[in-house]
Amino acid sequence: MTARAIMNLRSILIASAVFRLVLILYGEWQDAHMEVRYTDVDYLVFSDAASLMASGSSPYKRTTYRYSPLLAFLLIPNSFLHRAWGKFIFSASDLLVGYFIYKILKQRKVAEDLCLYSVMVWLLNPFTFTIGTRGNCEPIVCAMILWILICLMNGKIIQAAVWYGLVVHFRIYPIIYALPIIVVLDPRYVQLGKKPLLVNWKSNTQKPSSQSSEEASTRYNLWTAAKSMFSRERILFGLVSGGIFFLCTGLFFHLYKWEFLNEALLYHLTRADPRHNFSIYFYHIYLHYGHQLSLVEKLISFLPQSMVQLVLISSFAQDLPFCFFLQTVAFVAFNKVITAQYFVWFFCLLPLILPWSDMKLRWEGLSCVGLWMGAQLHWLLWGYLLEFRGQNVFLQLWMASLVFLLANAAVMAVFIRRQGCSPIFLQMKVRDAKGGVKSE
């Protein structure tokens, strides 16, 4: 059996599944026999909240439970089946993300071996398998985001909108994807009831293409622009996703009242944690803790994030996976609080853009990885000295977080340089006023 024959999607998925099962079992053993737990503290919070919900009370009675009640609902079997049920669910979502990555790339006609390498970038990433097996719920969010992408690629706008409303309710950050999705739901590319035309991947040997004329945007005047801004697809997407979000919020507010709103929604919007984390703002927040920040200061911290998001959306919205990826990296990097589990949000999108990148693994790719990991390890070193050795290294830790932000920005710049914008949709035949079809 050649390496190629062994290496197909099924074998990769099975090997990953077995490996995750082994890790879950090891985690249970470590929890029982060693001082330091393998399981994340958050998982215990979810389990407690789920058992509270199973006994009929509010999951928010558990302190530090700051998620949607849907998560506690999913983990109810923790109480009567086995306490590792949640970990199985999260690892299964993990594998599902791998499968979705394969599906998306195959639909765009990426070469088989590139597909498999991309899938391996997710499934064999140490961040990925530890996050699911330690009991973090992020793989579920990643799976939902990828499913939304698949629905959009297949023209299923309503289904995409339903899942989008759900995922924003679950974790607030996907709201940053709202604008690019709306932009990409251009009636020239996506129409209700029709499957959109996708731009297929071309290997390096086929680079010069004749598709450029079809992909180029047509000139259109202000009137056309205004008309298409409120196209059927966009309005439908907005209404359905907004409706689902408010339905969920309303339902859980009715069940759990203000506790739900404060813990699950408002906490995330106003969170300013002075404790050390990767964010550049932590020391600033700590030094100003207890003092009211002036309006100017609040705006200044909000400005870089919003500017970067807007520029990225206006430049890359047509290349939806790449736009999502860049937006997520920027969102995490400029956020007031950064924890390691947030990195999974963009790791699930990375395999989707790699086939289009001109970056060679040697040495550009490896140096990007090295720079990003190096900046992180540098921060972790100072963090260790502060937290576990009790040395006052706040200034050095803060500088390490500045370096980390710059490293993130540099890696993003390299990606942008090597990729540019590869639109995902081809222009379709356009509807005319009478409902008939005419091509441009």
Partner: protein
């Protein structure tokens, strides 16, 4: 939030009614298990987490104590009753309450018995570890007259009033409880794990340890107990030196014995006497790193400047290289 539970010993059968019945019946009757489990389940539903004394002492010369107050069991009275009356932990009001409890629940002995001299002969205190997560280790030496003391029905109660600036994690203590480290342990007061010390109030930990069966004979037996309490530092208020010092006081040590007597189970309290001249308690100080006020301006300016530079690093290539290929 109050977490106050006791580990159940091997039999897993320590509901109060069950214990009472098991005294009169020497076997565990299966038919009684179900209703007693239901009673136990109902009693556990209440947030109090009632502690159960282990055995009725049948053969020790102790007498009923005076019962008053609304606590159904003594052990959860001390800190629980304190925090039911006070919002915030204050040393003076706690001492008053402790004196109150001792006068109400002091162990009384049968006339004719010599006054038991339970003595605290040594109290060693050490802070083990470096960094924000450490263990406060207390080594307690007691001298006990074995004849007058029903050791199996007594336990050591230690109340550690934590200074502001450190906290104990209730979930971690729960984990330790399940591993059998203590008979019972509970945290009271401000147990918020996330807020810095300027926004937090003090908390206190109450620990119950069983005395191990002690085989020495003779007039007095010595007992050594070591209690390890895992603690965490809160983010301290800013200080120019870069370190904030947190000093620990001495813990309150009591012995609680369960009594045979009236139909309701009660425990009584004894304070070990100590010779304050001979007893030398180590002063424990924890240096916690904290932010320095004079950094404020530099940090704010450089933070926002870096954010601005990073924005440019991302925005410029986006504008230059975003043409569709």
């Amino acid at each position: 939030m109050i977490v106050f539970r006791e580990i159940s010993p091997a039999e897993d059968f320590y509901y109060p009614i069950g214990s009472l019945i098991s005294i009169f019946r020497n076997d565990k009757d299966d038919a009684l298990l179900v209703p007693m489990r239901i009673v136990g389940w109902i009693s556990r539903r209440s947030e109090m987490g009632v502690l159960w004394s282990f055995f009725f002492c049948c053969c020790f010369p102790v007498v009923a104590l005076s019962i008053s107050g609304d606590c159904s069991s003594l052990e959860d009275c001390i800190l629980k009753s304190y925090f039911s009356k006070h919002e915030v932990l204050s040393d003076s009001s706690f001492q008053d309450l402790l004196q109150d409890e001792l006068s109400k629940f002091s162990c009384k002995l049968l006339p004719g018995d010599p006054n038991p001299q339970l003595t605290l002969s040594g109290l060693g205190r050490r802070l083990i570890g470096e960094g924000s997560h450490r263990h406060l280790s207390s080594t307690i030496q007691l001298q006990i007259p074995p004849q007058s003391f029903p050791l199996q029905s007594c336990k050591l109660v230690m109340i550690e009033r934590l200074p502001s600036g450190v906290f104990a994690d209730p979930f971690e203590l729960d984990h330790l409880l399940h591993h059998g480290a203590y008979a019972a342990i509970g945290v009271f007061g401000d147990t918020n794990l996330e807020l810095p010390s300027v926004s937090s109030n003090r908390s206190a930990v109450e620990i119950h340890m069983n005395f191990k069966h002690n085989t020495s004979s003779g007039a007095m037996s010595a007992l050594g107990i070591r209690i390890d309490l895992p603690l965490h530092a809160r983010y301290a208020a800013l200080h120019e030196s870069g370190y904030s010092e947190v000093a620990f006081g001495t813990p309150d040590l009591l012995v609680s014995c369960s009594m045979e007597g009236s139909s309701e189970k009660r425990s009584c309290l004894i304070v070990p006497s100590s010779d304050s001249n001979k007893l030398r308690t180590d002063v424990v100080v924890w240096k916690i790193p904290c932010g320095i006020m004079s950094h404020t301006n530099v940090v704010s300016v450089v933070t926002f400047a870096t954010a601005f530079v990073s924005t440019l690093v991302i925005v410029l290539p986006s504008v230059l290289y975003s043409k569709p290929r």
